[in-house]
Subunit: 191 residues, 2 copies
């Protein structure tokens, strides 16, 4: 059974982060669902990214709220993070994920604008997009490109998105798998 | 006047490469058009990426063939590169681009499967996805992450896509602009 990953998004999602998470994790054969947080409509769940690239999601969040996921991973983008932070059902799902000791992750604006204000970083250390660093209670690892803290994984921005995804693979599968995918993608991992 | 960039794609386009090019170049305020090479239909020009992420293009290639672009940049993905290589109108546009001394670029499978067989690498040195390296006539810089040769810029895969896009910005605008965008994205550039 392949492990399952939920990637919730709204308009304003940073495209490189969104696509780097989904693409890289699918390369590791993880079962990834890109889900729009908007209300289910007659049309396809399309979100408009921060740089005007429209991406078709796999489903609406409301249609899969009952499913369990081994990981919930949030892309950034300012407006996306603000919208995710307002989505009650997502916040509840993240709280349950943390309580259950399961993986939850966020990059760029989302650690600061979603995790921090909803107490999901309580007892954790994390990182985020530099301009939002002041919002994090614990800034001790703010300059690290990817931070693993218990079951919480955070990262900084578009340029760290593949590294972030590779750490997610390492934790959900293995360091070997992560290294194999990194090599096949020509990913450069700073030491 | 912002410089113009054409990014033509088909089904099988590598999503990280496609989005990294469009997103990064738009951050530098370049005027980027993501164009589907498929025949214009009643529906939006959506392409299905190599890892099953569907991306909505800005237009159909056939609708903008008469426009001039300062750069034509091809994402990779095996099936995408094969489809681009079969697209006569695109190949003609690339030949005119090279003849006019204007920028043309490709990453991953596209240097080997589009540029090389159509003579666009004649007199140039380039790089491509490692498993396709044997197809390039001139392999002298095959291990370089981004290769600039006259007006032809090539690169290797998803993990080099942001670096590739940053070099495109450097050539279309300036090294200063490229460095500024790299910093704002937290991009790591191997020396």
């Amino acid at each position: 059974m392949h492990k399952t990953v939920l990637v919730p998004v709204a308009d304003g999602a940073e495209e490189i982060e969104t696509v780097s998470i989904v693409d890289t994790l699918r390369r590791a054969e993880l079962n990834v669902t890109l889900a729009s947080i908007y209300q289910k409509g007659p049309e396809s769940p399309i979100i408009k990214g921060s740089r005007n690239i429209n991406i078709v999601c796999d489903n609406y969040l409301e249609s899969i709220l009952g499913q369990d996921f081994d990981l919930i991973a949030l892309p950034g983008g300012l407006k996306n993070a603000e919208a995710l932070s307002q989505c009650q059902s997502l916040i509840q799902k993240l709280e349950e994920q943390k309580k259950a000791g399961k993986w939850f992750a966020a990059i760029c604006a989302s650690p600061a604008l979603v995790f921090e204000p909803h107490g999901l970083l309580k007892g954790e250390v994390g990182t985020c997009f530099p301009s939002l660093a002041e919002k994090l209670s614990n800034k001790s690892k703010i300059e690290q490109r990817v931070v693993v803290s218990n079951n919480c994984i955070t990262s900084r921005g578009p340029g760290t998105a593949i590294e972030f995804a590779l750490v997610l693979i390492e934790k959900l599968i293995s360091a070997e798998k992560s290294a194999q995918i990194a090599k096949s993608m020509l990913a450069y991992i700073p030491k």
